[in-house]
Symmetry: C2
Subunit: 338 residues, 2 copies
């Protein structure tokens, strides 16, 4: 309880300690998160994803700077950055990333940066990220930027945590038919063409707009997080209920286009609130988190139920092709059933 | 049984039907795979992964062509291509990919191409891919090329199915500190710099070699599939037991460097056989498959154990923050425990 209280009181060191507990999946971390959970739900979560080389990290840094600026004399908002690399089993790269960032936002006590790397446990990284985001939320961080590296299922799961998801592209990467992937477009609320001072920016922009056209043909059918919704008649009043992802240009390292991007994020937030999508998305967010945790727990529980000897014995039979994979699974899961 | 027999007899239509059963997770598919499993273990599995824009598909096509060539009057080997996009919930893109390939290898009855897209089920795509590979193996395909798009956990899981894994890069993509990722280097047996006629090829090659140096410092410590092995003394005889991933250049669309790449694949195969890594890798491959299947099954079984009403009720409590995620999971998993 002490840990949770210290986090609520805004103590940075306690927060850092809690984040480590969450990453390591300790009981202390779970107890503290249980105590903190009623204090969550106030932060605005912005997901930023895209392929390597698109300049996501610079974009996230600039957005953090933007939110740290005092607007009309108001208090600057507290900003957390969670950088997740689901494909890396190491923290090495993540630490390096931290150092590069720290030169940028160093010494600002209103910014907290945390890098996370997968420990190799499938499902584990998304669950840990959700916990880390809740800790920041309870600790009073009003803007949480969640940065992921790639386009795999883990990244999609992490992106689903966010209220607004940015998908970042850059000119020159998109010369492959697979470059802009339907799965990633699905989760995009805003598309950003970063490094927009490079040649080929028009091509990238056009490709993204064509993909959007395919996904939202004639605005009569709207695809939203996997659900296809038919718009009857398509009257203007009904149109407002839908969000067509804008395609924006930025040059993050020169702070170009960041204000406009932030304005579109604010517009998307208003859209979520006015359309009722906010409540819906909050439910989907928490449902995803629940499902991920359940999966992780089921596997952990099963592992405890079976002896190492029995597991290796069954694996032997599989390797010698005396059992098929399906038969081996049936054998190993039997104790749970009966 | 009829389906399995027809597949063993080399009937293409039966094979295509089986692949669909496997993708859809039907009981017919499982029964047929159980019957076919004793006939597997003969194919050589080559994984090809890399970021979008690296030209992986062209490289895979050229390798398929290479293996279809008659060497010294021998019968050309039967080749299967399994193209997997774990991030795409659609088959649309996959089908398009098929058409483009078909112009290449059209009409060759010794080649079978199958594209797979995730149905959104976490863990499901890797399990389905393993089943598809077994079907091809039992049907007598001697070379199976498994192509994946990205660098997420699902791609790593799929790459782990292969005997030899190629990681493909291209010049101009690697200008980000995150571009070449430790997680992906871990799974690479051979590194390929494709599009090697482009400017910047030296930089990409150097970056890859530097990363390898970091991963294998002074050849005293060798990192292999997550295991770190100390080489005592580093005598030449012991050195042979280790495989340092070569960095090769190709221009796939012009068939440049393909013969040399195939020679390195053959060398890696010999290395696996002579060092004993073959048996070890086969065991790890099957263990990964087993674990993935177990996870999928545990989740499916739990879903059946709980009523939709109870699930939604618990989700309500979570959304209203009356329960924390961890408390909700404990509640939902209770029926399984007692």
């Amino acid at each position: 309880m002490k840990l949770a209280q210290d986090v609520l009181a805004g103590k940075r060191l306690a927060l850092a300690r809690l984040l480590t507990h969450i990453e390591n999946g300790t009981p202390e971390g779970r107890v503290a998160l249980d105590a903190l959970f009623p204090h969550t739900g106030k932060a605005y979560l912005i997901g930023v994803t895209g392929a390597p080389g698109t300049g996501k990290s610079s974009l996230v840094n600039q957005l953090a700077r933007f939110y740290r600026r005092s607007v009309n004399g108001s208090t600057p908002r507290k900003v957390a950055i969670v950088a997740v690399d689901p494909s890396s089993p190491f923290t090495g790269g993540a630490v390096l990333g931290d150092r590069i960032r720290m030169q940028d936002l160093a010494g600002d006590r209103g910014v907290f940066i945390r890098s996370m790397a997968s420990r190799g446990a499938l499902g584990g990284i998304a669950a840990a990220t959700a916990g880390v985001v809740q800790a920041f939320d309870a600790a009073g961080y009003e803007i949480i930027l969640i940065e992921t590296v790639g386009a795999g299922q883990a990244e999609v799961d992490i992106a689903k945590l966010a209220h607004t998801t940015l998908v970042v592209e850059a000119p020159g990467l998109g010369d492959d038919i697979q470059a802009i992937k339907a799965g990633i477009l699905e989760i995009a609320d805003i598309l950003v063409v970063n490094k927009a001072d490079r040649p080929g920016v028009e091509n990238t922009e056009r490709a993204l707009k064509n993909m959007l056209q395919l996904a939202h043909p004639a605005a009569h059918v709207f695809r939203h997080h996997g659900q296809i919704m038919e718009v009857q008649g398509a009257a203007p009043a009904q149109e407002e209920a839908f969000w067509l992802p804008p395609v924006l240009r930025t040059v993050a390292i020169e702070d170009v286009g960041i204000d406009e991007l932030a304005a579109h994020i604010a517009r998307h937030r208003e859209h979520l609130e006015s359309s009722g999508d906010w409540i819906q998305r909050e439910r989907v967010r928490l449902q995803n988190e629940l499902n991920t945790l359940i999966q992780t727990m089921l596997v952990a529980r099963w592992r405890e139920s079976i002896s190492e000897g029995e597991y290796q014995h069954t694996l032997d039979a599989l390797v010698e092709r005396r059992l098929s994979p399906h038969q081996a699974v049936t054998k190993l899961l039997a104790p749970v059933t009966h």
